[in-house]
């Protein structure tokens, strides 16, 4: 994979069976995402945003075409290889936070590191750093049930960022948050993108998120209809 390109899809097709018929969720998507981008897949419900994000995240395999992420072809990965790719290089942020309910905020963040085989001391430092990035060191011992929606999503961001992944995939990260929390979350992610150089790829139709994007990839009916600089493209430069 050429220098600086993190994600490359070529003529990507995803077809879901639906009873006796089929649904074409992606219909020949070709795009590249470079290292350090703060980009978003934008479009109405059913346009294929989440499907594309899932394939890029190696959670799903394409029906046709090719998806290359960090030099690995997703369609050829075994379950184990895909799991290793996600564990090492990709962070996920979900609409519903998806925190493990029995773990504290600290443990939820630490959980992402457990499979990496880091020492306890290394994990501890990384977790506190991540909690500090999202401003939640004081809530480290709180369980998800004791956190607000905004705090939960910040824990999820810390969990996604703690292993310093090359790519963070965020699927409607603000959909369950009010406006103030949404802006706070987006500011945090923007800051991490700029300070750590982490690539962020969003799937969203939330205008608040769109306003923060530096690149906007519009999907309609499984096709890229527009790929243009986002409203924040004129903002602070990438590192």
């Amino acid at each position: 994979m050429e220098n600086g390109v993190l994600v490359r899809t070529e003529n990507l097709v995803k077809i879901y069976p639906l009873g006796h018929s089929q649904v074409r969720a992606l219909n020949g998507v070709s795009l590249t995402v470079a290292r350090g981008e703060f980009a978003g897949l934008v479009g109405p419900s059913g346009s294929g945003k989440t499907t594309l994000l899932n394939i890029v995240g190696s959670l799903d395999a394409p029906t046709g075409g090719s998806a290359e992420v960090l030099g690995r072809k997703v369609e050829t990965l075994s379950h184990r290889e895909a799991a290793a790719l996600r564990n090492r290089y990709i962070g996920f942020i979900f609409q519903t936070f998806n925190l493990l309910p029995v773990y504290s905020a600290y443990e939820n963040v630490e959980f992402a590191l457990l499979l990496l085989g880091l020492s306890a001391a290394e994990r501890k430092k990384a977790v506190w750093d991540a909690l500090e990035w999202v401003g939640l060191t004081d809530r480290a011992r709180s369980k998800p049930s004791q956190l607000s929606g905004g705090e939960s999503q910040r824990v999820a961001i810390a969990r996604a960022m703690v292993k310093r992944p090359a790519l963070v995939l965020a699927d409607e990260p603000t959909a369950n948050l009010d406006a103030a929390n949404s802006h706070h979350i987006l500011d945090t992610m923007e800051k991490l993108n700029q300070e750590l150089g982490t690539t962020f790829l969003f799937a969203t139709h939330d205008q608040k998120v769109i306003d923060h994007l530096r690149r906007k990839i519009v999907l309609v009916d499984g096709k890229v209809t527009r790929d243009e600089p986002g409203p924040a493209a004129a903002g602070p430069a990438k590192p």
Binding site: N54, D60, A84, F94, L100, A112, L115
Partner: protein
């Protein structure tokens, strides 16, 4: 890591986990409790019966059948020479058996007269109380159950009627010289112990016996081919059979109890897998393989068994060892199907029984926990994240 997460999850599930664990622990404790009582009963009864009746084995007249009174008339013969030496050395004792009737309180009762040497030391029966006596009265030793059944007490006399070899009946007064407390019903109920010489004289069977009891560790000598040697194991076969029958019953109960516990685990697992699909998706997104998710959920289910073992140890071990110490009281009217039973059974709870049962419960819990997780093997991460099954 999986273990830590599993422990967290199972403890995080709170009351649901503890309820499942409690049901399994109950099965575990009840099974160990019952099995310990059964082992205690077997050992206690075997020891008492060997001490008081079987000794190191018995040498029977071939016609002798202790269950058939009609054989007693023919089941006797001169004591084999090979055994006389052992009897003289005090390493065996001859018993002569005859059928008779007694009339306690005006009612006729069929009994078995057993003649025994008052000086014998082979079996633990207080036969020395039969020594002495007067010529026109037969000294009689009764067991406590027989005394209770007939209403006879020490010092009472009772008419004994027996049949002589010619077919005519004879009668004599028997005086109860002693009552013995014994746990062995077969030396007690319907038995009148009398001096061997007196019974031989009454039945005109001088020098004869129905069977000879050997002292423990005495091997039957050669030269008694016409008699039948019954080892303690042969004689204990009935009690072993009862033990086996009871064990089967106990095993059925074990299976039922364990099934209840396993049903709770299975139910918890199925619910847990159904309810936590999104969590499975998150774990996969974080880098878990499906195999790891399956291992996690199986481990969680198995931990119910571990929790059950801990719970069982907390309330079960003190209870079991308390009962082991004070014994388990037997209802007074329970005669134990003819086997020796003391007032109390002292259960035997060995490490093997406890650890073996616990290991079995854990193994079954692991299998039952694994079965519902097979559904995860087909689970797609994207479906799981949406809370759906593939």
């Amino acid at each position: 890591m999986l273990l830590k997460l599993a422990v967290k999850n199972i403890l995080g599930a709170g009351l649901r986990s503890w309820l499942s664990a409690f049901v399994i622990s109950l099965a575990l404790v009840i099974v160990v409790w019952n099995q310990g009582i059964l082992i205690g009963f077997d050992r206690q009864a075997s020891k008492d019966m060997v001490d008081a009746e079987y000794g190191g084995g018995q040498v029977w007249q071939p016609a002798y059948d202790p269950q058939d009174l009609l054989t007693f008339e023919f089941a006797h013969g001169p004591v084999p020479e090979a055994l006389e030496g052992l009897i003289a050395e005090g390493r065996a004792t001859a018993i002569l058996v005859a059928q008779a009737s007694i009339y306690p309180n005006g009612r006729m009762r069929t009994v078995v007269l057993k003649g025994i040497d008052p000086l014998q030391k082979t079996v633990v029966i207080p036969s020395s109380s039969l020594a002495g006596g007067v010529e026109d009265e037969v000294p009689v030793l009764l067991g406590n159950r027989m005394a209770k059944a007939t209403g006879l007490s020490q010092g009472d006399t009772v008419t004994i009627r027996w049949r002589e070899p010619g077919g005519s009946f004879n009668a004599l007064d028997g005086r109860i010289v002693a009552l013995m407390t014994t746990t062995v019903p077969t030396i007690d109920l319907n038995i009148l112990w009398v001096p061997l010489d007196r019974l031989r004289a009454m039945t005109r069977l001088e020098g004869e016996a129905t069977y000879i009891v050997l002292s423990p560790a005495v091997t039957p000598p050669a030269g008694v081919e016409n008699w039948v040697f019954k080892s303690p194991d042969d004689l204990l076969q009935d009690i072993r059979q009862l033990y086996k029958t009871k064990s089967i019953g106990r095993n059925i109960m074990f299976v039922l109890l364990l099934s209840l516990g396993m049903l709770a685990v299975f139910d918890t697992q199925v619910l847990s897998i159904f309810r936590r699909r999104k969590e499975m998706g998150t774990l996969m997104a974080l880098g878990f393989t499906r195999g790891m998710v399956i291992r996690l959920f199986t481990l969680e289910g198995t931990l119910h068994g571990v929790l059950a073992a801990i719970l069982g140890a907390i309330y079960g071990l003190p209870l079991l060892f308390y009962v082991k110490k004070i014994g388990f009281a037997i209802p007074q009217n329970w005669e134990g199907f003819g086997f020796a039973l003391g007032d109390k059974i002292f259960p035997v709870y060995g490490a093997g029984l406890i650890l073996g049962t616990t290991a079995l419960v854990l193994a079954v819990t692991a299998v039952v926990s694994f079965l519902p997780t097979r559904k995860i093997a087909k689970l797609k991460a994207t479906d799981a994240l949406r809370g759906r099954f593939s």
